[in-house]
Amino acid sequence: MSGIMGLVLAQARRDRIVLPVWIMGIALLGFAVAGAVATEFADEADRAAIINVAAVSPAFLFVRGLPDGTSIGAVVFFQGYAFTAVLAGLMSTFLVIRHTRTDEELGRAELIGSVPIPRAASLTATLMLGAAANLVLALCVAAGFAAAGLPGPGAVTTGAAVGAVGAFFVAVSAAIAQVMPSGRAANGAAAGLVGAAYFLRGIGDAFGTPSADLTQVTSGWVSLLSPIGWGQRSRPFSTADPAPLLVLTAAAAALAVTVLVVRSGRDLGASLLPERAGRERAGAGGGSFLGLAWRQQRPTLIGWCLFAALLGGIAGGLGPVVSDVIGGNESLRGLILRLVPGSRAEIIDVFTTALLGIAGVLAAAAGIQAVLRLRAEEAEGRAELLLATPRSRARWLGANLVLAAASVAVVAVVAGTGATIGLSLSGVVNGPPGLLVAAALAHVPAAAVFVAATAVLFAAVPRVSIPLAWGMLAGGLVVGQFGELLRLPAWLQDVSPFRHSAAMPVEPFDPAAALTMSAIALAGAGIAAYLLRRRDLTA
């Protein structure tokens, strides 16, 4: 037993930064949502209005969750629980896979396996760490809600619901780790299950039955297939029923025990699904920088595209509902209009514009990530193999920049297409076909500036380029997208490229700004190539 405690401490030490960041981040998100609801919907009538609309809108129910009364706590739970639970699930997933399948794949588990402790000791330690992390998370979420002034029992039940979902995914991920052959595949599969849990809950809620006064919804049976759905059934701010949470925890414990038995009976490094054999020969383009970049970026790009399609679909599908709601809520109307300043357009357009702006950020993120792959290649020693061939660094950079730019455009098109489909499914014909795709594409020049800036960072300060590039995007997002909301000074807002994108369809397309930003991006690419030529490769 002392051996296991030692392993728990060792694993906790490895996670001493990342776990607190997850836990505090999730708790702060809950606190922020609670604060926002308390100020934006201080009036009971406002809350009743939004809940009444939500209760009869399947799209709204799908995205958010179950309305459960019109108290502030209930609205906060409705707004924030599903997302918070997804985050708890992802935290648990990455925690477990990191210490199990990834360690096994990289050979670290072999060292642990050689000391005199039971075969499943390391997995036991990880399960204990996961349980402890979710316990702390539950306490922090409850504390955040309580600090925001929500009633105690509801706050504690919400914390317990989030923690129980997290604990369930600790056990699920441990099972996935037995099945998948690589850490990457296991992370993908387990994160996919978290997404599926959100999706199934959404289906169940969308087909739920609203109560007569439209303040509550009883979700359909499908949500019973989802741990997030079970957590939701605790209804913290009405009945505060712990029974569904106990079921969830018991299921997690049973699954964990099963997984421990499986682990005790299998070889180190073995997995239920074997590693698939690869191809014997490279396909077309497999002998070029561009082909390699495409091979490496493809799975990630698919992920970004799914995300963009979902966001675009939500923008389109929810647009009509939101415009109805907001039409009746003057303060929210003002808030939304501040996102797109200087216009008094149709609320529905404003809403899609704002969400497509976020899609622009998503596109930029996909591009930044494609460029930062260069840094990973360099730091992990693979760039050395590539650059010992008779190909220049400029070509290496160029191939990856071409792919990054293409990723940006593809993600934008997917988001725009998703919005178009969502809108037409909800029965609204708004503007000419292709308008929303064009609106999403209008953000491409700004995203390209971020891509080029990332390339300059990679060439100039390789060692810190990864955090700086993501920090830059976060800064650009806050300043450019929410600058007006936060009432930042105009000059500061103007620093962000997003600020100079035409907010279509509300604003007309601005060719001058788009051309200027494209020129800046091209110049940045040139500077990056020049700087990269003049520095050492650094690990």
């Binding site: 690869g278 497999g286 091979r295 050395e384 650059l387 061939t389 008779p390 660094r393």
Partner: protein, 302 residues
């Protein structure tokens, strides 16, 4: 343009620092055309840094590096046209299969020779279908070696290439070096394994703390060293008292000592004159030279 006699690799007074560490401290290295040149030194002596400078991946602080007469930093693409490189620590793309990585690396150099590629995969008993993340160190090394040898080059830069290979695979590797050498290619082989260098290389440069401490043919280096004598017999102790004898150890009627090459004749005369009952003479091994340079750096014989 380079003439036939110009060195393929010509590095003069290379200096490279990383922070406070002086990785290269005035290194000289010259490799002539067609040579198989051993580049020997302990870990951390600067072997990999030298190869990276020769590839133009990093820039020396001072000194000049020329490969085929070209400055690899200013003109890496032309310099690399005829170079095959195997890094010391081979890191691959985890989601690509071994075969795909080989095609990628040879493709960037202009494409592999199909026959060579097939033969190498057979000889190295390599499974090209597995994903790179499942390869052991030895298998990753094979990927880099196959990619290097599957397309002919005029210069092979090999950084500790046989690390992780078993003896059978090591002999496959040595055959490949001999094959490309017979075709007239130049090979620079860094290693800390002496026997490998003794078997393959005609010339050797020994590097320690970023500086070349010895350079020459194996015969020349052997010449610098001492022949070891072991003598049994009553008068062994008397022989040990000869003036040109070094490192004497006497154990009963057995004496052991070392003699410099220049002093062999008088010592042998004295040995012949003495009444001895047993004699063994060991040729100079590169090992003794190597160890003497190694031990300087660490303060003790390894």
């Amino acid at each position: 343009m380079t003439s036939a006699a110009d060195p393929v690799v010509d590095a003069t007074r290379l200096v490279k620092t990383f922070g406070r560490t002086r990785a290269l401290d005035g290194l000289d290295l010259r490799v002539g055309p067609g040579e198989v040149h051993g580049f020997l030194g302990p870990n951390g002596a600067g072997k990999s840094t030298t190869l990276r400078v020769l590839l133009g991946l990093i820039r020396p602080i001072s000194g000049t590096a020329r490969v085929f007469g070209l400055d690899p930093w200013r003109d890496p693409v032309r310099a690399h046209r005829d170079i095959a490189y195997v890094p010391g620590d081979v890191s691959l793309w985890p989601n690509l299969s071994g075969g795909e990585v080989i095609d990628l690396l040879t493709g960037l150099r202009g494409g592999s020779e199909e026959r060579l590629r097939r033969e190498l995969i057979d000889e190295f008993e390599f499974d090209p279908r597995r994903k790179a993340r499942t390869y052991s160190k030895g298998n990753r090394q094979k990927v880099a070696l196959i990619a290097a040898f599957a397309r002919p080059a005029r210069l092979y830069l090999l950084d500790e290439p046989s690390a992780g290979l078993d003896p059978v695979m090591d002999s496959v590797f040595r055959r490949q070096v001999q094959r490309v050498s017979a075709d007239g290619a130049t090979v620079l082989l860094s290693s800390h394994i002496l026997s490998e260098v003794e078997q393959l290389c005609g010339r050797v440069t020994i590097i320690r703390s970023g500086r070349a401490v010895e350079s020459g043919t194996l015969a020349e280096l052997r010449h610098l060293k001492l022949t070891h004598f072991r003598i049994e017999g009553a008068d062994a102790g008397l022989l040990a008292a000869l003036p040109r004898v070094q490192g004497v150890v006497i154990d009963g009627d057995v004496a052991e000592f070392d003699v410099d090459a220049a002093d062999l004749a008088p010592v042998l005369e004295a040995v012949a004159a003495a009444g001895i009952s047993g004699l063994s003479v060991s040729p100079p091994s590169l090992e003794s030279l190597f160890l003497s340079h190694y031990s300087d750096s660490t303060g003790q014989v390894l």
